[in-house]
Amino acid sequence: MILALLGSIVFATIFVVREKTSIFVVFYLSLLPLVIFSGQPIFSLLLSLLLGYLLYLLFRSPSTKTLLVFVGILIVSVLIYHPRPGLDLGSLNAINAQRGEHPDFQNSFVSRLIHNKAELSHSFVRNFDRLLSPAAIFASGYWHKTNAYYPLGYLFPWDIYFIYIFFKERKDTKGKKTNYQFILGLTSLLLFCGLSYVDDAMIYGFSVVYFLALLAAKGYAVSTKRTQKIFLTIICLYLLYHLQVSKYFYL
């Protein structure tokens, strides 16, 4: 956890310096539940943070150079971790079973039109939801070695408000060109997240979560100093509470 914390502080500091935001943001970003509780090996967690940070850079100031670095790191991560496909035999069996429920299913046009491999997209949605649904991100994510019922998100519950503030405060983007680099980066992460087994998909899912954390941090940074201090206190209490209680939920 200490190594994860140190790594996170490095990213948070780079973010604060580049964005010229309040120093409180360093604490805010370093103490994310994602960092404290993830239980991921340090290298894969740092890889997630790096991909998330690069995605943020693509979002803020898109450039082909950043995109190439992003793609390069993504390829390296695939070569290292060999993510296993998450659309497994069980899903195919379910599709075949549903096709079999049709009378004369072997010749039925409707059964073949509806119950084919395109239905695997439902598995994609399911995988995706386990890591990147709002409920997983802000309320109750999938944590390794922890009781599935434990209500702890990857980000703080109130980050949803700060992300809202970020988009609200965002300057008018009218006239700006479509950010293809960001769309490409985000889409590739989402695809890897939905198509891989949940254990392997965490690297890519956490990248997107960290990107959202950076948006929340921007939202946090534009609030008043008083609000920032209050939330920092709440964060400390929140983390102390979960550090204490989560022990009871370890499997």
Partner: protein, 563 residues
Amino acid sequence: MNFKTISFWVIIAIIAFFTRYYKLDVFPPELTIDEVSIGYNAYSILKTGKDEWGNFMPTSFRSVGDYKAPTLIYLTVPFVKIFGLTEMATRLPVALFSTINIFLFWILVQKYIFNRKNTVLPYLATIIFSLSPWLIVFSRSGFEAVVAMTFLLANIIMIFNFLAKNSQLNFFFVIFFAYLSAITYHSNKIVVPIINLYFVVSNFRLLVASIGSWHKTQNNAFRLMALVVIAMTCFFLKNYIFGLGSSRGSMTLLSKDFDYTNGLIPVYLSHPLSWLTSFFGLVSLWYKRLLEYFSANFYLSSGLGLATLGHPGQGVLYAIEYPFLVTGIFLLFFNKKIINAFFTSSYVPEFISIWILVSLLPASVTNNSQHALRTLNALPAFAVLISIGITFTFNLLKHKMLRTVFITGILSASIFGILRFVDYYALHYPVELSETRSYGWRQMAIYARDHHQEYDNVYIDSRFGSAGPYTYGVPYLYFLFYSKYDPATYIAHPQRQVAGQFFQNFENYHFVNVYWPDMDHTKNNLYIASPWSFPSELLNSKNQKYYVPFLNQSSGLYAISER
């Protein structure tokens, strides 16, 4: 009426007929437990003026362990009078109210929601609303939520009408429909007050000025209105907040959720500060339940639960609608300038935001995750946002060819979505979930009705299911319903009158747990139960008089006699 309007209403009539009325008694097969209860109680009211427990014109109908909202049961009475106690008569009121919903939705969006410049939007939104799988599924069964939505839409129309005309009568109908909606379905006891409270708070000055003006100019009418409103409020509070009508709410609270009682509480209790951890756990669970309504699977894959868990299923929307809903929500919350151009005033987007958030609230404070029925009130607001998402995207495309491709794509994907939904609803839903939809009790009730006089006793086990005796039903209502058993005789049974007792038997029917060694085998009995209630040698032998397998062939119900 011009050609465009006539064509539109012809299309709506065709949609309404095929989605709400066509083969209404066949799809979905079998009445649910709630439907037979509604049907038989309506029959009982018609014949005796009392419910099945002998209560005269009750304000809440006693059911198994809780109390049912009364509106739908009373609305079913004339249909039972006209069509008899049939499946069609039981389902027709909801189908009819669902059709009324389409008209009310049209009035709302055309008159009060969309800016007159956007001439296509009301048509598009109404077609999306009328074709919604979310609404269709609940319109073809006896679900009170559909009727409650009618009154909610009427309530909202009256709110906007009041804001436009400032009339006293409109204000009265705002309150009238609000109460009617809250009485009709439990979720609306939360949704309706908050929406109306928002209306009051956001228009407080106008309301105060209006009330002052009515008091001066129309004193008698104002006094009469005030009296009626006070009487309605007292009636509502007495019966549905503090009375029996609130029992359902307390039964389904989030604190009774399986995840909480079985997953969290046992662990929290081992903590020294268990009172604190349990409380935070409950709040966190509520937050999780609320956010689950923003998960993609609810809209795309499993929201309507038309398939076995883990199988591909049907979400509450057609897949093609989802990206446009996301676009619409994004515009609603983050781009005032664009969204305001679609609406009649800047009040409308605020109202729609509140409408969506409030509609998801009741389901989040009750047990079970992603409950499509309890969140049905969000549908009209979602239909508005989907239509805005489509129009906004269409307007982004400047090239004529791109626009043609866009429209063709949407139409093709919609046709595929409808076909897929029909396939799931008409074919997979009845098969995969036949057990949970109480499949088999109708056939058994009809068989027993025709043969029960051949036996001394008919013993019926209320437990059923392929996994073992874990699911409890209320089969007596099926036997009453399909026998059209005289309610007066049923109510008059002395044991039916004993307070606190749940006596179901009538004629020679006995509703008990069939445990074979304990049964009286000296008499000529017929037993209706699941396979695990019988010695295996009796199954598929000459003693087996009738068998209704579940449609997925996992198990079924058996009628067995020893002679």
